[in-house]
């Protein structure tokens, strides 16, 4: 906490810690629906402005003439205690905005990659992304009504998901089901942390 302001802030309550979980996946896979199922606020949208060259967020004023694009991210909030808030951030659907994913996963507890079994190939890019990052993640198969149901192991094989990545079925509209996804992410993060500790890695996040 920045106590430079404590004089004016008066009797400040205790330090508030905020954590975040990232919900990744292709366009239209149900990320915002999933966030909305557990969030205490209607999912909000925050926008970042970038150049077409993707040189950096909100940095286009330094390169006048470059085309700019707005990247939107939806997010929700769960206030767990007066000193603990969990945020859920959905990644931008378009996978060309990788740099924005980098900002989102920095410091995250973990991630869930949401997969639509009707458009399974949309999951390749997000899964590739997490494959190469130091962040615990699981795969959640969003079961839309009428979607072809595959056995989870068929999906694991089709997407070449490694055996140590948990794979679960979910319904992104259902609060209980989404809760289980988030519990799964945190439990996986704990197992990963314990395993790293056992191997003696300092294991930075993000």
């Amino acid at each position: 906490m920045d106590f430079a302001s404590s004089k004016r802030a008066g009797a400040q309550p205790k330090e508030i810690t905020s954590a975040k979980i990232v919900v990744a996946g292709g366009f239209g896979v149900g990320k915002t629906t999933l966030v909305g199922a557990v969030s205490e606020i209607e999912p909000l949208t925050t926008e970042a402005v970038m150049t077409s060259a993707g040189q950096g967020i909100d940095d286009a004023s330094k390169v006048p003439g470059k085309e700019t694009t707005t990247v939107a991210m939806d997010f929700g909030r769960i206030t767990m205690a007066d000193d603990l808030i969990l945020y859920l951030f959905g990644t931008p659907g378009q996978t060309r905005f990788w740099f924005m994913w980098d900002e989102l996963i920095r410091g995250a507890v973990g991630a869930a990659v949401l997969v639509d079994t009707r458009r399974i190939s949309d999951a390749f890019a997000p899964l590739d992304y997490f494959e190469n990052r130091h962040l615990p993640y699981l795969v959640a198969l969003n079961c839309f009504d009428g979607a072809p149901r595959y056995e989870p192991e068929e999906v694991r094989e089709a997407l070449a998901i490694s055996p140590n990545v948990p794979l679960i079925l979910t319904d992104a509209r259902n609060r209980e089901s989404v809760k289980q996804v988030l519990v799964g992410v945190v439990e996986h993060a704990m197992r990963t942390l314990v395993a790293e500790q056992g191997r003696g890695f300092p294991a930075p996040v993000g």
């Binding site: 430079a4 508030i16 810690t17 925050t46 006048p64 003439g65 809760k179």
Partner: protein, 120 residues
């Protein structure tokens, strides 16, 4: 500035509120929360419309940088510059994002988040 033919397009306009500055005075994670005291809200009255609105937003309850940007309808980068200024000027207190290092600290946080989720 901001004319239809301006090659800088509509990016310049959002940064008008920061007088063109695009670099925040300090990095603030998107999920870090900020709180304003009542005294800080009074002080922010003289700091311009955007900063005042941000202070008012953060007085009743802590808000993350992402929420501040969304409620103020400011791009994330613009909100970050304003919020970093307000932290430096003592109008907002910045609280911490999740610990990135230390087994015990990280495990404690994960346990608290897990129990919070189970209670939902």
């Amino acid at each position: 500035m901001g004319q239809p033919n301006d090659p800088r397009g509509n990016l310049v306009r959002p940064y008008a509120v920061t007088r063109g500055r695009t670099e925040p005075r300090r990095d603030i994670p998107i999920e870090a929360v900020l709180v304003a005291s009542q005294a800080a809200v009074q002080e922010a009255r003289f700091a311009g419309h955007d900063k005042y609105r941000i202070a008012v937003l953060c007085e009743p309850r802590a808000q993350s940088l992402a929420e501040i940007a969304a409620y103020s309808r400011l791009p994330l980068g613009v909100a970050r510059v304003l919020v970093a200024d307000m932290v430096a000027d003592g109008m907002l207190s910045l609280h911490s994002a999740a610990p990135k290092e230390g087994f015990t600290e990280r495990m404690d946080l994960l346990e608290r988040v897990l129990s919070g989720l189970r209670k939902l």
